[in-house]
Symmetry: C2
Subunit: 369 residues, 2 copies
């Protein structure tokens, strides 16, 4: 049995539903291999049917195996409804966290004899546990991401803009064989780095400033995600304090990762370390304004969430980011991020790039520490 058939079977076992309507495209890709931008999947006990439009007639048949493909002239939701009617289904599970209210209303109106049953993140729950093949796919995406970073670090020079740096990274996501960025690449220097989701600007990176580089490439559909810090010229005492504290926080969080540990425990390990350092009288944990990490795979944000109050337990096969950060408004941001897979006995860091600050001198980057 191939991987897709196994996933469909696992979904059927998990939900015990006679019929399921899968509307989220990443979930359809996970279950069938179809990568198009429009589709609706009906999963029955003995059959799965993909409804799509004419643009994907050939692609849908090439990419899927053991899945019936029905092609409509335009919107394929009416064809889905007609199929549910002709099958005389009495109940149909749907993805409550993914389906828009309007499509739900449309189906509700079209299917007076079928009860629509909200299901919550069933495919997403399956997707949290990666197969060996998926872990290897993520590892390849992580390696490509690291390679792009290394190549750009070897040519970057003082005077480059944030935008130029982002452009060079994203060029390599493609030229090294990937599909492009997994999210908008962040290159944020100086005070701009204090915005956790800052966009690259056409401004030259100034000497004596720290630069947050948060980058992810997609390869064969799977995402990678890494944050590293570079600087032009050696950092001052405060900058070094931030860098050191975030590095220790990240290592403490990774050390806590193993099956059975609650996600909130991993998150709190990072915060505990940051609490021990102050800058200008303020504890660094108060400047850590987001959660410690998130799962990733076919999407850049998947479960589990490594965050406060998350009692979910880690399991072998989960792949998560670990990315504590501190943000001094108006001055600087520091974040360090790796991708980590939970193994039977602990965890493995998939990211091979050194976590140390790269210090740019007159003639390109050199490693520090």
């Amino acid at each position: 049995m191939d991987e897709f058939a196994a996933r469909l079977r696992a979904l059927r076992e998990r939900t015990r539903a006679k019929a399921l309507y899968v509307s989220a495209l990443p979930n359809i890709r996970y279950l069938t291999g179809f990568t198009g931008s429009a589709g609706h999947l009906l999963v029955e006990p003995e059959q799965a049917t993909l409804f799509t439009d004419g643009r994907y007639r050939t692609q849908a048949r090439e990419q899927t195996d053991g899945v019936v493909v029905e092609v409509s002239a335009g919107d394929s939701r009416p064809a889905l409804a007609a199929s549910v009617r002709s099958l005389r289904l009495k109940r149909l599970g749907f993805e409550a966290n993914r389906l828009d209210y309007e499509t739900h209303s449309f189906l509700d109106g079209e299917l007076p004899h079928c009860r629509l049953v909200p299901l919550k993140a069933e495919v997403e729950s399956l997707r949290q546990i990666k197969s060996a093949a998926e872990v290897e796919a993520i590892r390849r995406a992580v390696d490509l991401n690291s390679k792009a970073f290394d190549e750009v670090c070897s040519i970057v020079e003082p005077g480059w803009t944030e935008s130029r740096l982002a452009a060079e990274l994203e060029y390599r996501f493609r030229s090294l064989g990937g599909e492009g960025p997994a999210f908008p690449t962040i290159v944020a220097s100086g005070a701009h780095g204090a915005l956790p989701h800052a966009q690259p600007r056409p401004e030259a990176i100034k000497p004596q400033s720290l630069v947050v580089i948060d980058q992810g490439a997609i390869l064969d559909g799977y995402c990678s995600d890494m944050t590293r810090m570079i600087a032009i010229g050696h950092p001052d005492e405060t900058q070094n304090k931030l860098l050191q504290a975030v590095l220790e926080a990240q290592e403490a969080a990774i050390d806590a990762i193993r099956p059975g540990v609650e996600c909130r425990t991993v998150d709190s390990r990072a915060r505990q370390v940051l609490r021990l350092t102050t800058v200008g009288g303020t504890r660094l944990d108060t400047m850590f304004t987001h959660s410690t990490g998130h799962g990733l795979g076919l999407e850049i944000h998947e479960g589990p969430r490594i965050a406060p109050r998350q009692r979910q337990k880690l399991q072998a096969g989960m792949v998560v980011t670990v990315e504590p950060g501190v943000y001094l408004e108006g001055r600087a941001g520091v974040r360090i991020e790796d991708v980590v897979v939970v193994t039977e006995r602990g965890c493995e860091v998939l990211t091979s790039t050194s976590r140390a600050l790269r210090v740019l001198g007159e003639s390109g980057a050199s490693q520090n520490g």
Copy 2:
């Protein structure tokens, strides 16, 4: 009054609702300027409140003006619900085509004394008519897209892979000042071009094959979209027939664009032209498997749809793509696409790049026709 205040006022007038919950991020950006990846907007008659999380504390305040910003530790939907309760709202409009079923259920449970009223694409309807400033923003994005194409055409050589060509284009989207691609760049040669949404492959483009290049850059949030054909070596008779027919179909569709014309009329003009040509005994209109065009702006796909059965009438200020294509399964695809703005008396093609096939010889690209 600034543009954002005018948009909020237009929305209030259009819906006549006392209170509206805007959940779609592009709609929030349109109404407030906020570009973050998480937010919920409550629009009341005298006030608008943006609910977001700690990552966007600084950014939300910097990007918006006249909007109250409320920051939550994580998910900001509970704060939205609490606000609606404290305001004792009896009715709250929501975006039925954008809100997921689960969030609707959550709000429904949290707000027992407030009726949730489904509204359909109200902000999207406003967004169909671009302001003068928006048309200029799109024109700049279109120009950047053309410039990237011209630059890559001046360096492309036989032997390049589809992926390399896509990488070079996307590099220029950034290096020329844009934010990146508006959609996955398509570079599809030979038989691969017969898949309308083909992804670039790491395979060299073969001589004597047609290459579909469908590319779009984002600049200051606004999208561009253009499809051009290139070839290595001069096309054969069948290829020329396809190219000529698609070019004429596209020109006929553009000629039909003016205020008051139904979208289906524009679509049918393209099909009428394709019907006049046959390849291997098959009429080309039967190989045109998608619609003729779509609106674009802050999103790559907006209204109106230029498609069969669309009776919506064009209005001045609408900006649409015109992109007929024909797809010979297993052999080739041809598509030509421009961005067109509907003016008071007709239309203006914003795309300045020549529609002619670019023929690549031994030493780079030269224009043909």
